[in-house]
């Protein structure tokens, strides 16, 4: 659309009201944007304007009438991180003024120095991650009690972080990390992609920092604060895992190494570990659960949990549909705004033409009328666009919660895996015990005992003891995960209710405000053309 000069009002593209923004963010640290530096990759103008536009949207509105009271800038929600996205978790932590803000910026190309045959090696992108916080664990560098620090990380590090969190926080609803993109390296380095990823990373880390439990995790702290190479164990790929496991397997099968899992191992899930035999046993157990005649020794009995699970399955379905329709709504609003603008433009041209070529006064009158309509149409078009920009943010809540359902599935999977471990161990124990019984029965028939059988029995009893320990741990772990599930689901419900409520409210207020503005614009034109009204003949 051409930039049309309208008689009244400021040019919205550059109008920024810092006061509005500051008062809202007073409880948070001032977020400064390190985009001022030279970015070889990122497009300065686009990311800057993105931030500017969020300011503009907040403060352009001079709400009339009713909207005066109720209409307030979108960023009234306290957000850690930059002010342009709504997070599913909105609580600043319970400790009143604790905060943490994370900014991801300054993507740079780096080269992997490898000794491979391919000269030049891999290039990849790193991002500057700047954290500002007053949380105790991070230490503080100035008298305000807050610290600020930066590290450089690549996406692979983020994957590692996510994996380690998944290991440590079983049963929790861990915010899903941004997708790995399997695209060619050409695309990887395109500005648009890098910018998208930068944004996604920022959102992700901010969400992690908003989770009441995870924000305190050592893994996160280390990721955010420790310079140089990320000191978290990386997830070795399946191949080397399989290789390690394959080496152990024969020994396990032939009884040369201890084939019982220890208490320590019992606390970790079987999948992703190196113990192939354990994986195999648990698989056998899960098949027995599904197809076996007898009921497994321990089952998921929590009715409440089962109901909850059902409900969440429904919720996910509804969310998916709502999310889709929300996108449709946003598009329709955008389209009508665009067309309204083009209509205005067409009438402006018509009016200009008639004015220039006017021979009769009737033409001048008509041109003036057309101009009124055109001006109103252009204004209305602008309002549609602005309203829509807000709508996108509000309805984003739906998309966010849909994404969170993934985390729910993971949390439930943690639970069922832990249960499976327990069941497997119980089955194991029962089979070990029956072997001991058999041996006892057999050796009791021999007078004086059976040296080899006794030795075997001792070994088995030892195995039983270790396995008992493991079982106890596994049960504890299972209970722990169940408890995590319960707490997290409760938190999910609470926060979801809150966020959905805010979403509706925000959406509605936004619609009301802009509809009022649009109505005013057209009412004015109707008044100005009232001489043509049919009833006035």
């Amino acid at each position: 659309m051409e930039n049309l000069v309208i008689d009244e009002g400021p040019n919205t593209q550059t109008f920024i009201s810092h006061s509005d923004y500051r008062s809202v963010m007073s409880s948070l640290a001032e977020t400064h944007h390190p985009l001022a530096g030279d970015d070889p990759l990122s497009s300065n103008s686009s990311s800057k304007s993105f931030r500017n536009s969020s300011f503009t949207e907040d403060s352009f509105l001079e709400p009339p009438a009713y909207a005066d009271v109720v209409f307030s800038p979108f960023t009234e929600k306290p957000i850690s991180g930059n002010g342009n996205s709504s997070q599913p978790t909105q609580h600043l932590s319970n400790s009143s003024s604790e905060f943490i803000t994370i900014i991801v910026s300054n993507p740079q190309k780096e080269q992997e120095i490898s000794n491979s045959l391919v000269p030049g090696g891999n290039t990849y992108v790193t991002y500057l991650i700047t954290t500002r916080t007053n949380m105790a664990d991070y230490g503080s560098s100035d008298f305000s009690g807050s610290a600020e620090f930066s590290v450089r990380r690549r996406f692979r590090d983020v994957v590692t972080l996510a994996d380690r969190l998944a290991d440590s926080y079983r049963g929790f609803l861990i915010p899903p990390r941004p997708d790995k993109n399997v695209v060619e390296s050409q695309v990887m380095q395109k500005q648009e992609f890098v910018e998208q990823r930068r944004l996604a990373l920022e959102k992700y880390l901010t969400k992690l920092a908003s989770h009441p439990v995870i924000k305190k995790s050592e893994e996160l702290r280390v990721f955010l604060q420790v310079q140089g190479k990320l000191p978290l164990p990386s997830t070795t790929d399946m191949a080397s895992r399989m290789l390690d496991g394959a080496v152990k397997l024969p020994k396990q099968l032939f009884g040369e190494s201890v084939s019982a899992i220890t208490a320590q191992e019992a606390v970790q899930p079987a999948k992703g570990g190196r113990d192939l035999l354990r994986i195999f046993k648990e698989l056998k157990q899960s098949v027995a659960n599904d197809w076996g005649g007898s009921k497994p020794p321990v089952v998921e009995e929590d009715k409440e949990f089962m109901e909850k699970k059902e409900k969440l399955r429904d919720l996910e379905q509804q969310l998916s549909a709502a999310s889709q329709q929300a996108e449709g709504l946003v598009k329709a609003q955008q389209d009508i705004g665009e067309t309204m603008g083009e209509l205005g433009l067409a009438f402006i041209k018509l009016a200009k033409f008639e004015t220039e070529e006017a021979v009769y006064n009737s033409q001048r009158t008509r041109a003036a009328d057309a101009k009124r309509v055109a001006t109103a149409a252009v204004k209305a078009s602008r309002f549609y666009r602005e309203a829509n920009a807000q709508t996108v943010k509000h309805l984003d809540t739906l998309h966010e919660y849909l994404g969170l359902m993934q985390a729910v599935h993971t949390a439930f999977a943690d639970r069922s895996n832990a249960l499976l471990t327990v069941q497997t161990l119980l089955s194991e124990l029962s089979s070990l015990r029956s072997r001991v019984e058999k041996l006892e029965a057999a050796s009791s028939k021999i007078f004086g005992g059976d040296k080899t059988r006794n030795k075997k029995m001792e070994e088995l009893k030892e195995t039983i003891r270790v396995t008992e320990e493991a079982k106890d741990c596994a049960i504890k772990e299972y209970e722990r995960i169940k408890e995590n599930n319960r707490n997290e689901l409760e938190r999910l419900d609470r926060e979801r209710q809150n966020d959905f409520h805010n979403m509706l409210k925000g959406f509605v207020i936004n619609q009301v405000g802009y509809a009022e503005k649009i109505a005013n614009v057209w009412t004015k034109v109707a008044e100005e053309t009232s001489e043509y009204a049919k009833d006035s003949i």
């Binding site: 209509l343 409520h501 509809a515 109505a519």
Partner: protein, 401 residues
């Protein structure tokens, strides 16, 4: 006679009191009915005439007419009233499927009603005999008249003569090296011609956007309906207060969807259609411009021919030829024809100037009404939207978690 004609679907002369001494002629096109089968199916309309004019037989007459009858009337008027901007007819629809949709039928009915009323309220056109035939003749007479006037073969003998002479003069033009088509050298008229052509472009663009706007309203309505339904379902699975809020939200969303569809319909009838009508009117002016150009050419050619004959006559007189009396008569006839052609041309010029003033004034009123209704409609819609969403706020406040 009424000086100004308001709105598109107004009636002809003042229809207030049939029994008053004020002359009036009021026509309405109503009641579309589909007749016939298959490919030959068509729509017939009821045309109701109420009048106290003496030229009409009776105070009220109802006849059945179809689209091609209206075309017949338009063609006759175009032929007899050169220089007048004949009110435009709605287009024939090319798309078969659309031809019988309720929307299309109503749009066409409205446009035909407007057309007839414009004819009936035009100071010259309303005198037309053909109008009277159209409004009064029974259906069989109408059908005969319609089938007689078959397309390009409706030229009368005099016209055929003219065509022959045109060809003749063209040949002489070529021979004499005068190949350029004859055009008026009037700068003001040139300006007016350019204006008309450019105006059409601007209007066409405006109409295109108006049509798109109709579509956008429909799409937004659909999107709101779909979204509302999805939100309702979401609320069902939430239960409790929040669920109720979602449910109310969904209901409002669906309600607004209706309002948007309705506005889309209004826009189609009362915003896009008038713009289309405006474009048609400009095209009608272009047709008159063509008539004027033809008349100008004829005038020039006949004048030329008459002059040549005069010169010939003088030669013959000098030669004392016995063809003189014959040629004398020819000269007289040609002179008369030339004067007639000049007169015809001048009538067209005069009429066009009057029509142009009338046209501009009428269009200002028409567009004024259109703009006003458009603004009103949009304001109403926006207010409805604001009210609908606003009504949810107290409920949302109440169920604050």
């Amino acid at each position: 006679m009424l000086a100004k004609q308001r709105s598109l679907s107004g009636s002809g002369l003042s229809p207030r009191s049939p029994s008053s001494s004020q002359p009036f002629l009021s026509v309405s096109v109503t009641d579309p009915v589909k007749l016939g089968n298959g490919v030959q199916a068509y729509i017939s309309y009821r045309v109701i005439t109420k009048t106290n004019l003496p030229e009409y037989r009776g105070q009220e007459k109802i006849v059945i007419r179809r689209y091609s009858d209206f075309v017949w009337l338009r063609d006759r008027l175009a032929e007899k009233f050169k220089g007048i901007f004949i009110p435009p007819l709605p287009e024939k629809s090319a798309v078969e499927k659309f031809r019988f949709s309720a929307e299309f039928i109503e749009l066409r009915r409205q446009a035909l009603d407007t057309y007839v009323n414009r004819v009936a309220s035009h100071p010259q056109l309303q005198q037309s005999e053909d109008l009277r035939s159209f409004l009064q003749d029974d259906e069989e007479t109408m059908e005969r008249a319609r089938s007689q006037d078959g397309g390009i073969f409706k030229k009368k003998p005099a016209d055929l003569m003219q065509i022959f002479k045109d060809v003749q003069s063209k040949v002489s033009d070529v021979v004499l090296g005068k190949e350029k088509p004859l055009e008026e050298a009037d700068p003001e008229y040139e300006k007016m011609k350019r204006y008309v052509f450019e105006l059409e472009d601007h209007l066409a663009e405006a109409q295109k956007q108006a049509f798109r706007l109709v579509k956008r309203h429909r799409e937004l309505g659909q999107a709101l309906s779909d979204f509302g339904k999805a939100v309702k379902l979401l609320g069902d699975s939430e239960g409790n207060q929040l669920g109720k809020a979602f449910s109310d939200f969904g209901s409002q969303s669906e309600m607004l969807s209706f309002k948007l569809q309705k506005e889309a319909q209004d826009l189609l009838m009362n915003f896009e259609e008038p713009l289309k009508d405006y474009v048609r009117a400009v095209q009608s002016i272009k047709a008159t411009m063509t008539d004027r150009a033809n008349a100008f050419r004829q005038q020039c050619e006949l004048a030329e021919t008459a002059k040549l004959r005069e010169i010939n006559l003088e030669k013959l007189i000098v030669m004392r030829s016995d063809k003189v009396p014959e040629v004398e008569i020819e000269c007289k006839e040609l002179k008369a024809e030339s004067e007639e052609a000049t007169r015809r041309f001048e009538v067209i010029v005069r009429l066009m100037n009057e029509e142009l003033v009338r046209f501009q004034e009428q269009k200002t009123i028409d567009m004024g009404v259109t703009f006003h209704d458009f603004a009103k409609g949009q304001a109403q819609l926006a207010n409805d939207i604001a009210n609908a969403w606003r009504s949810l706020l107290p409920k949302l406040e109440a169920c604050s978690p």
